[in-house]
Symmetry: C2
Subunit: 446 residues, 2 copies
């Protein structure tokens, strides 16, 4: 029987970084990643939408296998079919049994297919991380005009914007009153919606798709209420479901968010089995309650924690902060931590503040865009709980500035005197650096 010290099931962000970190921490251990995808077929998860307008093909959106070989990690192309906790072995589809000292589940999550009539029609797609499947979608979008996207979250907006870049007629259908409603407060949602609308994307919010229409191929959708919309293709992206079948079959505990329960070191209910990434349950940095956040950056960060803990507990997970950003055209929105809505829902009494200023200085600099920041502070402790930002191409790193301030638990007064740098081309003016300015405004209300 084959045996490896550290066996990782799954070869995307969480699995790769777990392996790389384990290699840095445990020089002499044998480490293997076992995954279904063939050589050179693991897709960059966040790059999926950009295949369709910007990058051009799935093959240009691949994570190289040298990420593994470069860290002396063996790659086994196979599928794990079961785990024997007692024997500390896994069985595979090809009939092998592989022993492990420590096992890591990095099995990810799969798109949720809404159980509505027509979901099996030709030209119904979702964000499946598979090269052949995405090439199929690429061929399909090359032959059509009208796309309906079901779900107005990040993925829906990103696919919508990219499909639009190809000249398709795009309609996003979202059940909630606003797109991005689960991740931004209303002002930022309406801003993103208006940017999409300006780019020619249609948005129908507060609308539920009841059926996908067509005989063999998609011809449209029917909304609750009866309205029918014409479509040649439907793209479904209402969320993902953690892949926990292996864990469940092995009797591992499943958490409140339907992901594999883990402790703060990333251990499942079995001490020798860890879990990272979309398949693993997360806890909020703020409330310590289970969190449904799923991001490649979180998977990578969990990989850095779990990879260090496999043979000895060396790093603790303080819970997910959440930091992300997206682009619409050449405008960006980003956030870190809790929105006002989320903070209140978690039971925090909060104070918020908003500022707007040009994102370059002086405002007469060519290409200057309006830059907006909203901060959320906890009333009791004055600590920064979250920030939202809109502007241009810097919003991703501005979200990371916010993430750093949040993780160090800075108070409004500390944020107000935070030392930042500025430059005419890169940032707003030093006089009104918006994160600091918003903290000053919040202080006046605290």
């Amino acid at each position: 029987m084959e045996k490896v010290d550290l066996l990782i099931i799954g070869g995307s962000a969480g699995g790769i970084v777990t392996g790389q970190t384990a290699r840095r921490q445990y020089k002499d251990a044998s480490i293997a990643v076992i995954r279904k995808e063939k050589e050179g077929q693991v897709l960059v998860p966040c790059g999926l939408p950009y295949i369709f307008g910007t990058v051009g093909s799935p093959e240009k959106n691949i994570m190289p296998d040298k990420l593994l070989s470069g860290s002396n990690i063996d790659l086994i192309i196979d599928e794990v079919t079961s785990i024997d906790k007692q024997a500390k072995t896994v069985a595979t589809a090809s009939g092998k049994s592989i022993g492990y000292d420590r096992l890591v589940l990095a099995t990810g999550a799969d798109p949720i297919i809404i159980p509505i009539p027509g979901r099996d029609l030709e030209n119904v797609f979702c964000a499946i991380k598979d090269v052949d499947y995405l090439n199929g979608l690429l061929r399909a979008v090359a032959a059509i005009k009208d796309v309906i996207i079901i779900g107005g979250g990040f993925i829906g907006l990103e696919f919508g914007d990219e499909f639009r870049k190809r000249g398709l007629n795009v309609t996003i259908v979202e059940m909630l009153p606003h797109c991005l409603e689960l991740v931004f407060d209303e002002g930022f949602c309406t801003l993103a919606e208006s940017q999409l609308t300006e780019r020619g994307v249609s948005i129908k919010t507060g609308a539920k798709v009841e059926a996908i229409l067509g005989e063999k191929k998609v011809t449209g959708v029917r909304l609750a209420g009866g309205e029918e919309l014409k479509a040649d293709l439907v793209f479904m992206c209402i969320g993902v479901r953690p892949n926990t079948q292996l864990a469940q079959d092995a009797g591992l505990e499943i958490g409140e968010t339907k992901a594999v329960w883990v402790d703060e070191y990333g251990r499942t209910s079995n001490r020798d089995i860890f879990a990272v990434g979309d398949c693993a349950e997360k806890r909020s940095f703020f409330s310590k309650r289970p969190s449904a956040l799923k991001l490649a950056s979180i998977a990578a960060q969990e990989g850095r924690i779990v990879g260090a803990n496999l043979l000895e507990l060396r790093r603790r997970n303080e819970g997910v902060v959440g930091a992300f950003a997206t682009i619409i055209g050449d405008s960006g929105v980003g956030m870190a931590g809790l929105t006002e809505t989320q903070a209140k829902a978690a039971g925090f009494d909060v104070v918020t503040s908003d500022v707007k200023t040009p994102d370059k200085h002086p405002g007469s600099m060519p290409g200057a865009k309006e830059f907006g920041v909203k901060l959320v502070f906890e009333k009791a402790t004055h600590e920064l709980l979250g920030g939202q930002v809109c502007g241009g191409l810097t919003v991703g790193e501005v979200a990371n500035v916010l993430a750093a301030l949040i993780q160090s638990r800075m108070t409004a007064s500390e944020v107000a005197t935070f030392q930042y740098g500025t430059h005419p081309f890169f940032t707003p003016s030093p006089l009104v650096y918006p994160i600091v300015n918003a903290a000053e405004l919040a202080l006046a209300k605290l």
Copy 2:
């Protein structure tokens, strides 16, 4: 006699933000700024170079006076000629005497003119923050071909790049072995130099200008060693000198860096007189020793501290971290905290690490640039002392991410598990987010 509660001498970044902060903190106080510049004539300090290639005129690079009026701060256009500490009054050039309860010196710094022959010739300029003077420089550069810039710091490189955008032949002459040597480690200096050279700017390092040549107008410069370089215009930018005449005349203590000595609350040796910005001495966040750093962002941050302290001590200055960035063409370099050289010079035993990765992901994204990070950690405490970064337009905010991690005194292990967000258009890949990755590499050496 006129009397104001809080009187601020100087109307640039430090003075304005001190006033605005004081207004937020002390609603009922009377506040005035007294300055020499007429209405609508205060220049955005960091915008000076960009007048010449990007923005087009000094008039487009003005800080609006509504920054004062909007905070109910009176503007007095006059020049303070002396301070009477006992009487708590200032005398002005127009013959007025103005009483104060608290006085703030925000008198800034002026460019150093090198005392070499030819310094008074026509077409010798430096970075003087005066609209008429800069319009004179604008007219002068419109009529010439060959410019020599003396001093290869930030300002010299920025003016050089902007002059080059106008099609001028630009040569930068720097005494030290490299441009930017006082603010970056060597690899980043040589990168910036090669970017400038690619854009057609000539650089002569290790070279000292001994004389400016010409009868009435500049015709060239002579270097130590005898070499002569042709020039129609010389731009001198070797540094600035704090404006401390008023303070010295009033008997206030002057610090080691020739700036006005202040305590950690921004008070000078007289309890009723404060100082902020380029005229005020700074202490390093790291070593607590006097620091010669001078930046508009630091002036603004000191304004936020001092403005709060005027009537009651509310905020303490922990010392300057230093965070800044600049652009060459469409490439950026930035930094926060100490370079390796600076850290060693300050007595720290350090470990460093370098990483390079595309600044978007996948690397096939259009417009992806190489993004490099170097981190410096203290061996004893594992704390992050500094970071340098090169890449595209996001480096300014990446420097701010580093500044936040430094200010919260994160250790290498904490930086390695820092929660960041990523996006294909905005950041490197989540798998290799370079700040985190560099921390992991440093940890292996700690």
